[in-house]
């Protein structure tokens, strides 16, 4: 109890004007109930809302009645009241009657027997229609203490109980409009459609999941360039003449490729942090993704580089190029063309893998949709999430197909832009050993 409790008797002329008096004069109100607060379960106005009043009654307060004086604009006409009484953590049984005065907006709870003092009250007033305009409102509450000895029943009040919500955003307004449409009702009468493609939820989910989509995309876009560098570096380490360097690369590649990404995420987000090593969430996520896909890319690059015929390297060397010049100007450019389809596939996999970060609380697409589903009990958000993933993956899958086709053509000289026949004789510059990195990578994780 941080502040002195004061009491004041309020003479009650009528409930209607009492509300106004209370609001104006709350600075001088006495509060006997402690820890009183009011919360709402909705964050936007203009809809049926549940109000939860929580408070603990005072030492000498056997309460017989509680009144909620809903302000102007709030419509509790169809409200339902739930009362939970606790003594400490123990639930007390109770029986009560509720009454609602739609004119004054007063919801009253009348207990059949006075509630023992020092009880925890949890009163939920459900299905109160709120005004659409957001803001901070106050809900004045009055309670009646049982007459004791000579004194008559006393009405006390609790004020300063504020709650707030926002004006509904556009998608919310649309969604509510859909509620009343006949075709929507018909559509939703089909169980599958209602569960997976409910228009109202669809409209809500699209803007809400958009941020998650951006997060997923930004994670993979940040990680992938690092992966390319890391993958290239690791590929060269794996091809090194120095055995320990080669081993190191092999161990890294095999450990990463041989364990689930999910586990790697937990190692960084839970394991490392438990030992005190922590980076911000976003950075950690990018690091895990980059670490993971570097290992895959390393194998793709290595296979790609080794698929370039030895003659290319020898030709470059015979012209006086150093190892790195040969790599930079001759081998890598050819490798890139060859690994582009596989790299794109890896990008697609990595993009989908961002979903795993849902488990560690990164608000990407999957977590947002899970959250949405959990809150709405409707699976439409998953369909929306799927669409968001597909926006990225379908064009890329297409691209992979086209790249692979082009590559196959150029490797076999099926067409040449000028229509010229390519050299016969089987020792063409591109016919290196079969390039299997693609096949190796097409497995899923």
């Amino acid at each position: 109890m941080g502040h002195p409790n004061r009491r004041r008797t309020l003479r009650l002329f009528s409930l209607a004007i009492a509300g106004i008096v209370l609001t104006c004069a709350f600075a001088t109100q006495a509060i006997a109930m402690t820890g009183a607060k009011v919360t709402v379960d909705r964050d936007t106005g203009g809809q049926l809302t549940r109000f939860t009043f929580a408070a603990t009654s005072g030492q000498d307060e056997p309460v017989t009645r509680i009144d909620f004086l809903f302000p102007e604009g709030f419509d509790p006409a169809d409200a339902k009241v739930d009362v939970t009484l606790l003594e400490g953590l123990k639930r007390l049984s109770t029986s009560f009657e509720q009454s609602i005065d739609p004119q004054t907006g007063v919801v009253s709870v009348m207990f059949d027997a006075p509630v023992p003092p020092k009880s925890n009250y949890l009163i939920q007033v459900r299905d109160v229609m709120t005004p659409i305009a957001g803001g901070t409102y106050e809900l004045p509450v009055q309670y009646t203490v049982e007459a004791s000895g000579t004194s008559s029943p006393e009405v006390r009040s609790v004020s300063g109980l504020t709650f707030k919500y926002n004006t509904p955003p556009r998608e919310e307004v649309i969604s509510r409009w859909l509620d009343s449409q006949a075709w929507v009702k018909m559509w939703n009468s089909v169980k599958v459609l209602d569960l997976f493609l409910k228009p109202q939820q669809f409209v809500r989910a699209v803007p809400l999941l958009f941020a998650g989509w951006l997060m997923s995309l930004s994670l993979v876009l940040s990680a992938f360039p690092i992966s390319i560098m890391g993958g290239l570096g690791t590929a060269f380490m794996k091809m090194s003449k120095v055995p320990p360097v080669r081993w190191l690369a092999s161990i890294y590649i095999n450990v990463i490729r041989g364990t689930p990404l999910f586990l790697q995420i937990f190692v960084v987000f839970i394991g490392l942090r438990t030992t005190g090593l922590r980076f911000p969430d976003y950075l950690s996520a990018v690091v895990v993704l980059a670490f993971n896909s570097s290992a895959y890319l390393a194998e793709i690059f290595r296979a790609g580089i080794q698929s370039i015929s030895k003659g290319q390297f020898e030709a470059a060397s015979s012209l006086g190029m150093t190892y790195w010049q040969a790599m930079r100007y001759v081998i890598i450019p050819q490798t890139v063309r060859r690994v582009l389809p596989t790299m794109t596939s890896e990008f697609i996999l990595l993009f989908k893998d961002t979903a795993l970060f849902a488990a560690v609380g990164i608000f990407e697409l999957m977590l947002r949709s899970q959250n949405f589903v959990a809150r709405s009990g409707n699976l439409t958000a998953y369909v929306v999430a799927a669409l968001y993933y597909l926006i990225i993956t379908i064009p890329l899958i297409n691209l992979v197909g086209r790249l692979e086709y082009k590559l196959a053509q150029s490797e076999h000289g099926v067409t040449a832009p000028t229509g010229k026949r390519r050299a016969r004789g089987g020792v063409g510059p591109l016919s290196g050993p079969d390039f299997d990195a693609t096949a190796a990578k097409h497995e899923s994780r």
């Binding site: 709402v40 949890l122 169980k191 839970i270 609380g361 899970q370 589903v373 959990a374 692979e404 590559l407």
Partner: protein
Amino acid sequence: MSVAFIEGGFMSKGKKWVALVLAVALVLAVALTGCASKTDTGTSDTTGNTTKTVTLKTIEPGKLLVGSDTAFPPFESMNGNVAEGFDVDLMKAIGEKLGLEVTFKTEIFDTLIPTLKAGGKFDVIASGMTIKPDRQLEIDFSDPYYDSNQSLVMKKGTTYTGPEQLSGKKVGVQSGTTGEAWAKENVTGATLVPFKNATDAFAALQAGNVDAVVNDLPVSTELLKDDDRGLAIVAQIPTGEQYGFGVSKDNPDLTAAINKALAEIKSDGTYNDIYQKWFGILPE
């Protein structure tokens, strides 16, 4: 090699469409039929002096399939691949009364209700689920079988002064639970981080990924019982919530039968035995 690889990797356009249409048709067919054969089971009610036969619809005849997020000790948890816990024993006792063999199926908490509604996977939810009006819009609940409250868990040694303390912090919750709802309503200004289950949330708290976790009190108590992770319950949050078993609105007979069985179990002492077994004390 490359040619084969292209053909292997990509169906021709025509084939792709056929496959797509077939897949969609299959999904719809399965979903519409609910992929379950509903069979009637005659159950004898032998408690009264008159023997009345209740006809119960279950997905598999003679069986009661129970959906549960089995990472919620002491209510339900997996011991190897066998579910155990207060809810499990209670459900088994109820199954016995109904003449049905009880089988537990693990399902993530926040998909329990949609899955039950969709039908075909399980008949009942027994998952420490609080009876709440918004849930009652979706499914029916049995009579309450357990009184619960919430808890706030933080690093050991933290003094908790009130919800304001969590403003600007990260609060871990289990997705779809009353703990989440409480936090959403009461801890304003905090970022709520949803987890699949309480165990994950506690791991995140230990790792410092979140600053606090709101979770059902009995479960927190159980999970932190022999805790060496430096976590502690810093506040008990009286919510007076009550757990109930969830049943599809299409199956009111089952709800009634469960209620009847529950009442019997309570009166014949079975409930107390199970309570004692899992909480070490008798219910008040």
